[in-house]
Structure formats: C-alpha cells, structure tokens
C-alpha cells in the first residue's frame, strides 16, 4: 500500500484550512510498520467514511469549491485503502466485494449487533 506521508505533509504545510486535515488515525497507520490492530482497521473505515459523508453534503451546496473537491479526492483514496484492508480481515462491506468461493456476505456479525467492530 503506497504511503501518502509526503502528500499529507505538503498539504498541511501549504494550507492551514480545515480541508487539509486528514483523519489522524490514517496518518498514524501510514507510519506503522507492523500489522494494524483489528479495531484500528474498523476505525479507519468509520473515520474516512464519515468524513466523506460530511464533505459530500458540503459539496452538494458548494459544488465549485476546489479546495473541498481536493479534500474529497484525498479522502476517497484513504477510504478505498481503509475498506480494502478491512475487507481482507473481516469480509465484504458491499455486495460487489464478495470474494472467495462462498457467499460470505451473509456471515455474522451484522452491524447492529455490536460485535468486534
């Protein structure tokens, strides 16, 4: 997985606005050498996913904000990475990401059960 450290540093130093802040756990993740802990994988999905949900609404009413677009694009990248790692460990998050020989989409836990993640 490509480390985006340089990009984060550049962006942070160039621009102090809200849009330059990347979710903190993702920055830590990119500096770790060892396998991240299980709850860390889930946390990255929650944080990057939610950041997208939030900037999405802003872009709906500010579609020409280029700073927001750039932030959105960085988040999408981080989110894709996060879900890839999460899915490898825990199974599919969406019906288009079911891999392997059996339809493990059905498997527990389901999100309302408050399981490991």
């Amino acid at each position: 997985m490509a480390c985006g450290c340089n990009e984060n540093t550049q962006t942070s130093s160039q621009n102090n606005s809200l849009f330059s802040q990347i979710p903190q756990t993702q920055q830590n993740q990119q500096h770790q050498q060892s396998q991240p802990q299980s709850c860390q994988l889930a946390r990255q999905v929650y944080e990057t996913g939610f950041a997208i949900d939030d900037i999405l609404l802003y872009l709906d009413t500010h579609p020409e904000d280029t700073q927001a677009m750039a932030y959105y694009q960085r988040l999408c990248q981080l989110y894709q990475n996060a879900i890839q790692m999460y899915e490898q460990a825990y199974g599919p998050l969406s019906i288009t990401q079911v891999t392997g020989d059996i339809w493990n989409w059905i498997q527990n836990p389901w999100p309302w059960e408050g399981g490991a993640n």
């Binding site: 889930a42 999905v45 929650y46 996913g49 939610f50 949900d53 939030d54 999405l56 609404l57 802003y58 709906d60 009413t61 500010h62 579609p63 599919p92 998050l93 969406s94 019906i95 989409w105 389901w110 999100p111 309302w112 059960e113 408050g114 993640n117």
Partner: protein
C-alpha cells in the same frame, strides 16, 4: 437507488441493557421527529425540487437519515438484549414488549405508530425546505431531551453524534433554501411555485 454498506455510520457498542431508556430512544426510531420521518420526508420531497443543489441535498441527507435510523435500531436492540420478565415489567417496557417482544417497530416513546402524518411533502420547494429546517431542530431538541435522561456513556456517545448531524443538516437545508431563493424573483419569492407553475399562466401573480 440504494445499496447497503454493511456497517453503521457510527459504531454502537452497548454493554449494559436498559429497557427504560430504550423506550425513550424509540421516539427517534418511529416518533414524530425521528430518523424514519426525516428519511421519508426528504426522500419524498426531492421529486418536486426543481433545482440541482436541492435535489442533491434532499437525496443525500435522506440517505444519511436511513443510516441514522439503523443506528437508533442498533441502540434499542442492544439496550433490550436478554431481558428478564422482571426487568421488562419494572422498566415500563411492558406494553411494547407485549406487542413486539424485543423486536424493533417504529413508534414514538408514547406508543403512536409511525405514520405519514409525521411529515409533509408539500410540493413547494420553499415550503418543503422550511419544513426541513424545522424538522432538524425538532430532532435536535429530541436528542437534547434524551441526553438529559440517559447517562450511560456508551449510549450518549452515538446519541451525541446523531445530535450534531442534525445541526449540520439544518445548515445544509438553509443553504439549499438560499439557492432556491436565488432562482426566484427577489422582489417576490412567492410569485409562483417553481415546482408546479411551469408556465406563468398558472402563476398567482399575473
């Protein structure tokens, strides 16, 4: 269309059951100012919205509200696991339990079933967005009321998240309303309904 992502928007992990609190929080699942009403309201209103930003906001906030509806269900589900008959009787959860056991069914805390009278879709963009501004404040107030009674941090955490989202949604609907107004005659926003009066022959002001 809607696809499903197999996760909550915000995690819910509640280790201590509390059917009394579940009864209160039920209002955000099926009550007059709850998430189901919000989702139905915005997703229904979007068809009459003539402008792009408005359509997007209604669709995307409506979709997010479905995710919130799910979070509330998760909270209620986890608050009502493994209840004993004694706990059910003493908590006030009894009447709901009689009809639904610990299944999830949309009603208000007071027992009013969820119904379409809980929301309006007036087919007029200004009216609909004003309805939505009000709806988000009502939801926020409801979360305020819940937070006065609920003290378990594992419950307060997702509730506070949901409350903050109401405030953001309020902001976005305000921006969408401004956008609608920008499309209309600044000397008279009410000259005609842009969702209906396509040709000016229908309009109120000739």
């Amino acid at each position: 269309m809607w696809r499903y992502e197999k996760r909550l928007q915000y995690p819910v992990k509640i280790s201590q059951t509390n059917p009394k609190m579940a009864q209160f929080i039920m209002s955000q699942y099926g009550g007059p100012d709850g998430e189901a009403g919000a989702a139905m309201r915005y997703l229904s209103q979007r068809y009459a919205m003539p402008y792009e930003k408005g359509k997007a906001v209604l669709t995307d906030v409506g979709t997010e509200e479905l995710g919130h509806w799910e979070i509330i269900a998760a909270i209620i589900h986890q608050l009502t696991r493994n209840l004993t008959p004694k706990e059910i009787e003493e908590s006030g959860f009894g009447p709901y339990y009689i009809d639904h056991t610990t299944g999830i069914w949309p009603q208000s805390a007071g027992g009013v079933p969820f119904n379409a009278c809980e929301f309006q879709s007036k087919g007029d963009p200004i009216t609909d967005l004003c309805e939505n501004l009000s709806a988000e404040q009502k939801a926020r107030s409801t979360y305020d009321n819940i937070l006065r009674l609920v003290k378990d941090p594992e419950v307060c955490d997702p509730i506070r998240f949901l409350r903050e989202r109401e405030i953001v949604h309020f902001q976005r609907f305000g921006e969408a309303l401004r956008d609608v107004q920008d499309h209309l005659n600044c000397r008279n926003f009410y000259a005609f309904n842009p969702a209906f009066d396509q040709n000016r022959e229908n309009s109120l002001a000739k």
